[in-house]
Symmetry: C2
């Protein structure tokens, strides 16, 4: 965070940064001791809290295309993706930095729109913008959203134990359906577009569940259930058994005539930013209704943890089926996922 780039510099640059920070919204908070405008931001953590840090780089034509989304949605998605990592760690957000580089030929309003999207998503979770970095880009629009969170007891990917249950928040595949449509040159259905451009990190949901259930491991579904379940299996040294038919489908996919194709897309497509949770047996039972009442999203048991390794996919009769293909590897320019 250089003076010239984020600090209270003189002239045009100063005004650009002021405009950007204004667009991003809140930069103050009870824990913010030094906000934007100094060499670095300073934040207080609570008693016995640990710092949780993550960043999410979004690059034009790798992670998004400007033809597909508004600049504000591009900013929102980048912030949601970073905040989702805090949710997966069971952390509360304490603030974020925004590093942004844009080609000089772009109108100054583009930076403001991106900041508005980032700031809008952060504000939903009372996370202030602490500072950042503003630069010129030789071409692609570049965003890096860095989030800081705090927790007394971090949730990791490595806590799953044989006998635990596997749960998932919300419904899957909406973002993948949109990405598939974009990739084919089509306009996604409105529900799918909304899932793709305005994902919501499950921060209050995980806080609520941690208080009530024995959550042993968590990961956010950024790569897709298939890939992310594999991460948990590897990190925990266990085997995850998942019932493909139990995977909760986004309404857009639920309406597909080819249910098998819909399930495979939901289980392999990424960027939904729902949470995969591993919980002690029985500890989530009976919480679903209260969870749905509180957050208006579902909580679905999709399998269980056994000794072994890897992910085993099963059909409705419990017979092994091939893993849903591929997962989500962002789109290739000219291509499309999945």
């Amino acid at each position: 965070m250089h003076g010239r780039r984020v600090g209270l510099g003189p002239g045009a640059e100063f005004r650009r940064i002021e405009s950007l920070l204004a667009a991003a919204g809140g930069t103050a908070g009870p824990e913010v001791l030094v906000g934007p405008g100094d060499d670095a931001a300073v934040v207080a953590l609570g008693e016995a809290e640990r710092l949780v840090l993550s960043c999410d780089l979004s690059i034009e034509d790798v992670h998004f295309r400007r033809e597909w989304l508004s600049w504000e949605s591009i900013g929102w998605r980048a912030a949601a993706s970073a905040l989702s990592d805090l949710a997966a760690m069971g952390a509360r957000p304490i603030g974020a930095l925004l590093a942004l580089a844009l080609a000089p030929e772009l109108d100054a309003s583009v930076a403001d729109a991106i900041a508005r999207g980032v700031g809008g998503c952060l504000a939903r979770f009372d996370a202030p913008v602490l500072g950042g970095d503003l630069s010129r880009s030789p071409g692609p629009a570049i965003l890096d959203v860095i989030v800081a969170g705090a927790t007394r007891r971090p949730l990791t990917r490595s806590g799953a134990r044989a006998g635990d249950e596997i749960w998932v928040t919300g419904e899957l595949g909406g973002a993948a359906a949109a990405a598939a449509a974009f990739g084919a040159g089509l306009e996604p259905e409105p529900g799918a577009r909304h899932a793709f451009e305005r994902p919501v990190p499950r921060l209050p949901e995980i806080a609520w569940l941690i208080e009530r259930a024995g959550i042993t491991a968590a990961i956010d579904l950024s790569d897709g259930l298939s890939g992310d379940a594999g991460h948990v299996a590897r990190a925990s040294g266990v085997r995850l058994g998942i019932d493909l038919d139990a995977v909760p489908l986004h309404p857009v996919l639920d309406a597909w005539r080819d249910r098998a194709a819909a399930l495979r897309l939901a289980a392999s497509g990424g960027e939904d930013y729902e949470l995969l949770l591993v919980a002690e047996p029985g500890s989530v039972d009976g919480l679903g209704r209260a969870f749905a009442d509180e957050f208006d999203i579902s909580l679905t048991r999709i399998g269980d943890v056994t000794e072994g390794e890897g992910v085993e996919w099963r059909d409705a009769e419990g017979r092994p089926v091939p893993a849903p293909a591929g997962g989500w590897d962002h789109f290739s320019p000219g291509g499309g996922a999945p």
Copy 2:
């Protein structure tokens, strides 16, 4: 920090990230509770310490050119620039994230070289790599180094008071001399090149001074003394008077026949990453010898703080002279600074 991008993902991506982390060196430390490979990193702060956060975006053809520097030096500079912000806040580093995007046609060894440079600079200050993000770039190499630090009493730009003294660590203008040479299509003198490609953040120096002197404000000289002194004046609501002749010259500039031109370059050129310090009157006197013995760099008084605003430049006789032009605005592709 997505599974696919930094986590323990399968296959080629996993090996790329393992290779990158190995190249970056240490990822463990007594305060690191969760290092690379989970959704986010988790770090403990000390008792009563505040979190200090900064990021530094480096983009090819905006902040560096691959023809000028080795990839390792590009990584070092990015890390040094970010760590220098922690020094300016009087913070100790506790770790860093590295977000890196490279065009697919670049050899995998390029990512390793950048990580080696970033990690080498971090290791010098015992700061582990906590995680990051690895992505494809559609063109330019992109690095974002995010540093986390901790301090009980942050130093800001806003603490300077009338009557305080202005000091500067080390010697100025080496990086600017290199940038000027690069911009003119020339190979810089070795000393200037070294200053440009291997700047050293003044972390132990500021810790040493905070213990012994009454430091009231600090900023790192990333934009250049002229610009950065202006930041302190504005943030503190005071006037900084600087004796141009007192500005300590890098040996390369000290050898210039045109001393006036050398002084102006040293006072306006950026990226030296020395510190401008404001100190209570007399509190630094007598520390210079011990400081030089300890760190092998100089500590020079260059002026004083009065009531008023802005920066006043003076010649050896105390007469006002024009502010050294421009400061450092990174180089323009095809151009050159300053």
